[in-house]
Subunit: 170 residues, 2 copies
DNA sequence: GAGATATGTCAGCCATGTTGACGTATCTTG
DNA sequence: CAAGATACGTCAACATGGCTGACATATCTC
C-alpha cells in the first residue's frame, strides 16, 4: 500500500504531502458518501411530509425498540426541545407510541406502530439498496476496513453507546 | 419486506438477517463517524462566527484553487442563492477573492486569501488529527477498504467530479 | 420530606436550505 | 450581427431543524 500517493509530485515524496492527500481523500469520500446515501431517502420522506430528523428518530427506535427518550437524546445529540417537536409529530401521525417504563415510571419507552414499522422498512430498503451495492462492489474485506476506520472516528466516550445498538435490549 | 425483520424466530440466522445487520452497522457507523468528524471543527468555526456551510466552501476552494462558482455549486449540490449568501460572507471577511475567468469572462474563479488559507489550514488540522488517528488504528489495509466502500456510495453520475478533486486544475 | 432526575412545553432566535422571478454581462451560433 | 444560451448575482418569502432560557410535573432516591 505504498502507492496511495500521487507519484508525479515530489520525487522525494515527503510523508507530509502524502498524508495530506490521504486525509483529504477521506474527508471528501466521507462527505459525498454520507450525503449521497441520505439523499437516497429524501424523496420517500418528502412523500410523507417528513424530514430527515424524523427518519433519524424512526431509525433508532426501529433499531432498539423500547428505547427511552433519554437514550434517544444521547444518540442524536440534540436538545430535548428539538427532539420533542419531532416525537410529537411522529406520535400525531401514529408512527410511534410510548409506554411508561416498567422499572422507572418517569421514563417513556418508545416503539414504532405497525405503520411506523412499515415506513421505516421502506426507508431502510433504500439504504440497503445503496449500501449493499457498495459492499458488493468493494468486497467483504473492504467492508470490514470501512467499519474499522469509522469506528476510529467515533470518540471513545460515544463508542459504547454505538456498539450497544447491536445488542438486544434487556 | 416483512420477512427481513428481526427474527428472534430464526435461530439458524438466515443470510437475510445477517445482511440487515451489516447494513445497519454501516448506516450507523457512517452517521456517527461523519457527524463526530464534523463536530471536530464546530468550535473553531464558532470562534469565527462561521458555520459549516462556510467551511464546505472554504474546503473545496482550498482543494481546487480557481474553482468556478458553477463547479462549486455542483460539488455542494445547493442552490445558487444559498451559495451566494455564503460566498458573500466569505468575501466580506476577506477570506475569499474572485477574479474574472481568463477564458470565459462570465466565470468567476474562486481563491482563498492568505487569511482564508490560514483559517482553512487550522480547520483542516482538526480533521487531520481525527482522521489520521482513525487511519493509524485501523491500518492501511482498512483505509483502502474504507475508500472503496465510500466510492461505491457515490452515484456514477457524480463520481468523476469527486475524482477530479484530486487532479490539479489545468 | 428534600432534592435529583426524566420528561414535556412555551417562546423566540439562528443557520441554512428551498422556490420563483428578474437583471446583466458575456459567449455562441445561425 | 442579432438572437439566444449561459454564468453569475440578487430580491423576497418561506421551511426545516437546530439552539437558548425558563418553567412545570411526575417520580425516584436518600
Amino acid at each position: 500500500m505504498a502507492d496511495i500517493s500521487r507519484p508525479s509530485a515530489s520525487p522525494g515524496a515527503s510523508p507530509l504531502f502524502l498524508r495530506e492527500d490521504e486525509i483529504r481523500r477521506g474527508v471528501e469520500l466521507l462527505y459525498f458518501g454520507y450525503t449521497r446515501l441520505t439523499n437516497a431517502i429524501d424523496q420517500e420522506l418528502a412523500k410523507q411530509g417528513l424530514g430527515r430528523a424524523h427518519h433519524r428518530a424512526l431509525y433508532f427506535i426501529a433499531r432498539q425498540p423500547d428505547l427511552t427518550v433519554g437514550e434517544l437524546l444521547r444518540l442524536l445529540a440534540i436538545t430535548k426541545q428539538s427532539l420533542g417537536r419531532v416525537l410529537k409529530e411522529l406520535h400525531d401521525r401514529d408512527l410511534v407510541v410510548t409506554k411508561t417504563g416498567p422499572l422507572d415510571r418517569r421514563q417513556k419507552l418508545l416503539r414504532l406502530t405497525d405503520s411506523g414499522g412499515t415506513l421505516e422498512a421502506e426507508l431502510f430498503a433504500q439504504l440497503r439498496e445503496r449500501l449493499s451495492a457498495a459492499y458488493v462492489t468493494a468486497g467483504q474485506e473492504s467492508v470490514t476496513g470501512f467499519w474499522h476506520v469509522l469506528e476510529g472516528l467515533v470518540p471513545e466516550s460515544d463508542r459504547q453507546m454505538v456498539f450497544d445498538l447491536r445488542k438486544d435490549k434487556v
